[in-house]
Amino acid sequence: MPGFGEIAVSALICLGAFFLFVGSFGLAKLPDLMRRLHGPTKATTLGIGALLIASMLYFILEDEIVSLQELLITTFLFLTAPVTALMVAKAHILLDKNDQEHLPPTGREAGWSVLDAPQTDEVKKS
């Protein structure tokens, strides 16, 4: 592998490790659950992303194979991370009476779906 390739791969791995660390650090440092949720959902996307790009680059330069499985990992991460965050947030709202009282209004007749039963068009008609 050429020298600049090694430098590029190492730099990407360091960048990824840095953002993963910041994400975990935010999880430990921030004071309440909703703020803590921001660390792992964001700082880790670029962290994992940089590591995966480093992995692709390594295999292209070292073995001259274009490895596409990293793209799949990215896709799965982007599909699942928001769902996890949404579920954690919903569970938090259900449990935290103080946050429940301070939620902003929906601006509509229906309340938030965590606390109110869903109101679809079919329910309204019947």
């Binding site: 840095f18 953002f19 910041v22 650090f25 935010g26 440092k29 921030l30 004071p31 909703m34 703020r35 949720l37 921001h38 660390g39 959902t41 964001k42 700082a43 996307t45 670029l46 962290g47 992303g49 596409l68 499985q69 793209l71 799949l72 982007f78 599909l79 991370a81 928001p82 769902v83 965050a85 949404l86 947030a89 919903k90 938090h92 709202i93 946050d99 301070h102 939620l103 902003p104 209004p105 929906t106 601006g107 509509r108 007749e109 229906a110 309340g111 938030w112 779906s113 965590v114 109110d116 039963a117 869903p118 109101q119 679809t120």
Partner: protein, 163 residues
């Protein structure tokens, strides 16, 4: 006939491609991928009755690039907030984003995008599906945050899913 066999043709194509990528290309893996690609959309079609209409690939690529760029910027912003600010000093709050989007697929995409981008996490949907509850890590001007989400992401998703 074709519609009962393949309720979501794009999903079928995606599953086949994904299976081939995961297991390496061979006739066997392609055949098994095709089997999965036919079986999974049929088994889950009861939970996904409508077929979303999707706009031109160019608008989707444009949207993906914008979101990727925002994710990179957001990472640096959030890293700065986490490392150099006291947690208690952050002006965090919930804001309400009224939705113009109506299709479930588009709202899901918007909620996912919000969670992955600058200092915002989507926390809930209103019971009638017309507003999103979003938590901001740091905002001094909630109205501007909401306007930013609507103009940057929602208008583009509307063009992709609802034109």
């Amino acid at each position: 006939m074709l519609k009962t066999l393949l309720p979501h043709p794009l999903l079928t194509l995606l599953i086949v491609l994904m299976w081939i990528l995961l297991s390496g290309f061979s006739v066997g893996s392609a055949a098994f991928g095709l089997l999965l690609g036919v079986a999974i959309p049929r088994l889950t079609s009861a939970y996904w009755p409508d077929r979303p209409r999707i706009g031109s690939p160019l608008t989707i690529i444009e949207y993906a690039l914008i979101v990727l760029w925002d994710i990179v910027v957001a990472n640096f912003q959030v890293a700065y907030l986490i490392l150099f600010r006291r947690g208690d000093d952050l002006h965090s709050q919930f804001v309400t984003v009224p939705l113009d989007l109506r299709t479930p697929e588009a709202i899901t995409a918007l909620a996912g995008t919000i969670t992955m981008t600058p200092g915002t996490v989507s926390a809930s949907l209103s019971a009638d599906g017309r507003a999103l509850l979003v938590h901001c890590l740091e905002t001094n001007d909630p109205e501007q945050t909401v306007a930013g989400i609507k103009s940057r992401y929602e208008s583009r998703l509307q063009r992709i899913f609802e034109t």
